[in-house]
Symmetry: C2
Subunit: 596 residues, 2 copies
Amino acid sequence: MQTYKAPLRDMHFVLNELHAEPALSSLPGLAEVTPDLVASVLEEAAKLAEEVLLPCNVAGDLEGCTLENGVVRVPSSFHHAYTTFRDGGWTAIASDPGFGGQGLPESVNKLVEEMICATNLAFSLYPGLTHGAYQAIAAHASEALKQAYLPKLVDGTWSGTMCLTEAHCGTDLGMLRTKAEPRADGSYAITGAKIFISSGEHDLTENIIHLVLARLPDAPAGTKGISMFLVPKFLPTEDGRPGPRNGVLCTALEHKMGIKGSATCQMSFEAATGWLVGQPHQGLAAMFTMMNSERLSVGIQGLGVAETAYQSAVAYARDRIQGRALSGTKSPSQAADPILVHPDVRRMLMTMRAYTEGCRALSGWVARALDIAERSDDRATRAAAEDFTALMTPIVKALFTDLGYDAANLGLQVHGGHGYIRDHGMEQLVRDARISQIYEGTNGIQALDLVGRKLPTGMGRLLRQFFHPVAAFIEARSNHPELGAMVKGLGRAFGALQLATTEIATRGLADPEEAGAAATEYLRLFGLVALGFMWARSAEIALEKLPAANGDAGFYQAKLVTARFYMERVLPQSGALLAAIKSGKAATMALPEALF
Amino acid sequence: MQTYKAPLRDMHFVLNELHAEPALSSLPGLAEVTPDLVASVLEEAAKLAEEVLLPCNVAGDLEGCTLENGVVRVPSSFHHAYTTFRDGGWTAIASDPGFGGQGLPESVNKLVEEMICATNLAFSLYPGLTHGAYQAIAAHASEALKQAYLPKLVDGTWSGTMCLTEAHCGTDLGMLRTKAEPRADGSYAITGAKIFISSGEHDLTENIIHLVLARLPDAPAGTKGISMFLVPKFLPTEDGRPGPRNGVLCTALEHKMGIKGSATCQMSFEAATGWLVGQPHQGLAAMFTMMNSERLSVGIQGLGVAETAYQSAVAYARDRIQGRALSGTKSPSQAADPILVHPDVRRMLMTMRAYTEGCRALSGWVARALDIAERSDDRATRAAAEDFTALMTPIVKALFTDLGYDAANLGLQVHGGHGYIRDHGMEQLVRDARISQIYEGTNGIQALDLVGRKLPTGMGRLLRQFFHPVAAFIEARSNHPELGAMVKGLGRAFGALQLATTEIATRGLADPEEAGAAATEYLRLFGLVALGFMWARSAEIALEKLPAANGDAGFYQAKLVTARFYMERVLPQSGALLAAIKSGKAATMALPEALF
């Protein structure tokens, strides 16, 4: 059975112990965001996730979405969930108070997102895409558009979409064909067909606001000729109610491997009325402000599913009896011992645990940097935080979703044959998690973003935001009596990352294919070192707090054991990744096309 | 689109070049199995797979199986496929001519199995389980039972099942509760409930023969009290037609992640008439003769799906245009280049290729050993071959299915968003492949079999069948001018395997949990070295043949490139696996149960 209790203790650890500096409430505009306030927000979010979203997760998968005469119906149980979600103000938590939002920082928002994704990934896409649209409009649209649309998106009565992909172009948006013809009244007539549009049509909200990439008549070819348009399903009346139907239609639903409760639509725009958002031909840049935030959120999806897979697998491993412990019978009164006694089951559970807590720690770091980048009153501090988030975005997206998928598969595997059938909900987690490695830029694209854009920026300027603190940490603790072994392991892996970085930077300059052939392994290596840093820092805090921890001692003990597991059993992969990177592109690129 | 052409050239390479010694036709009883005969069998099998099985693979997934009033209907398109399959004699190819079989060796049979699994995994289970039942009956049943049942199983008019699992016991069969009460006429009344029974009920054959594990009234507790019974759905009449219905009923179908065309049944036995197969209380041993063969076949399932995933991904990567090559435009007449130009796409394709060809080479080795073990007239040769297959069985099962699942996921990933939707059939491959890591003993159980049983047998006697030829190969070629780098890489990985073996043997003697905690990594390390050995040997042959290869030059060139890719980008994982193994059980076992 899908099992989930929000890991509040660990969330507070990440928020207040691991990333204690700077305290959230010390940032400009966040004076009221005290630990107490945050705790109560997280507790309420936990209730929502556990009591409202999780109970309709399986039902949403079974029922899926339907399309009839252009009308899309979401799973019936999602209606109650969405009403509760909206009425509880959850669509508004990270939005600008000027438009009705609660203005909570990303450090809190990302934890709430994690709970939502953990308990109902398909559902999460409806408010998730809406928030993405909110961000793009808030950043780039005219004041009139903001006033007309943002309050409705923030309070959740309307929802949003991102309409990028066309059948012939996904990654390569330069080929897109949707057209925008200017009209005399300042609006545009949008015509074209889009695919893979999450929440493109559904019956949860009274209006749907599409952000559509299209070409103006005078657009240059390629990505430099793409503009962004706001295209509502219903054209708002003067008083802000949904008015006449616009020329936007869902023509088909995609049949997907998972996230079946999310309506993935083929959309047709036929001279639909739209308004330009941002500057002409600058649509891709505008979309990317939203995409970066979305990419972090997709990473969080991987983390969320991994957490539910972990908790479900632990519950099953405690309950299922099979075989006897290798060290001797543990439950003599039963016909067999719980499978939690078996080393190979523990290996799977510990791996999942090391992934989830490690990723949560890292996302907490990135979220804090997002808040600093947005709010700090010091320009250099803001710039440094921006560099850090730019660097870490592709890593969080790809690493978390790869590990999340692995964790979902481990959760299934712990269940044996019972994991492969529908009844326990584990195979749903695997099917749901799989999309996160693909959308918002495949993980291969994330890796190319890392080596092709983030690495060279400012001659490695972005890298310093990560390399400097890690190097300083290692140097200061190389002779630490208890932490020494972990720091040594981290140092080896970090050394591999530094070597790989030099290797790629040098070879990639001469031949971009060298960087391309190393990209995926490099991103993984970077990600493993980042998690290793988080685990070493977590272990250090646990060591410090353990002597006076009292009732919390178990929490810190578990941190120490899991940190050790990560260092001993996961992080050594860094050596193999370095070897693969060093081997260069030759074997990857040598096979003539005809011989594949 | 699921794309498949049987890789006949590579199959002939494995059969006649890589494993040339001893030639199949030199083995006793195989004089007629000449390369020409084998070639024509494989060509016919390829036609069957490509033209009959692949076309109903997607349809079988969509339609699935239905149960109504105890009657199970398979996907409608499977009927034509099964008739063609049976009429073509494919149910008989590996069976004893004494019962109507064709007596072809496993070296050929496993390649045919690969084609069947590659093109329709769900379908493959119907004849696959039948052949398993055939093997168990042939090895253990009375002459009367053999005469009554084997000809019908061999000609495919009847089919077979293995009824082991019960709701509360899968891995731990010692807990099973199904009862067998002796009757005066020598038969037994079988009563109990089984789950996860592949082909337990269906409408493809006129009778279904269940091999059921159950307890006799005087049975000792645990696995030493399990006996095997033959329980037909219809009790045969004197003249061998299906007679009265037996007390066997399908009570439910499982709803599974994949292999939806395979009927996975909950079965109820109510005083069903059965006959003892083999000795009382020796059922588990009898089942295991069949299980070992099944485990190899499940490994082949992983390989088969991987091949289809690879070919489908290549077809897509040639066809799909997106972006430009990093080295400059390759298809100026098109709006973009085929994605096959991109290094990260090639990384995925080359990985899949290295897996499939490597696994095929290794399974060819094991299959040849099966044939030698069965047919050689030299006792020591037979014993050595038996040791080798016993050692490699868990490795083939777990490694091939893990890599097969990875390959299926890579195939999906190459398709991007188009891989996640139903239309291209890639997500089906992922869902189908997932079961192979679980059934016939989870891959964790395979790893325990390797370290707990196979490693200690005869003080490492089994190991020598692998270690000696690998060591000799490396030693003889350490200064090979062209092969040297590959042999060096293989030598490093083999050194890691030797160290890991000593480590586990030493520690495991003192503490079985040490072996348990290292098992999965050890099996993977062993498997990677085994594939590395296959790749080094393949490369050597390719180097030898290339100068005079003429029209075949491309084939050998591709072998060399793929071998290099494997050595540079996959095999280095051995170092990380050794590090994890050396770290021991502490971090895996330290967390108290309450802290999970």
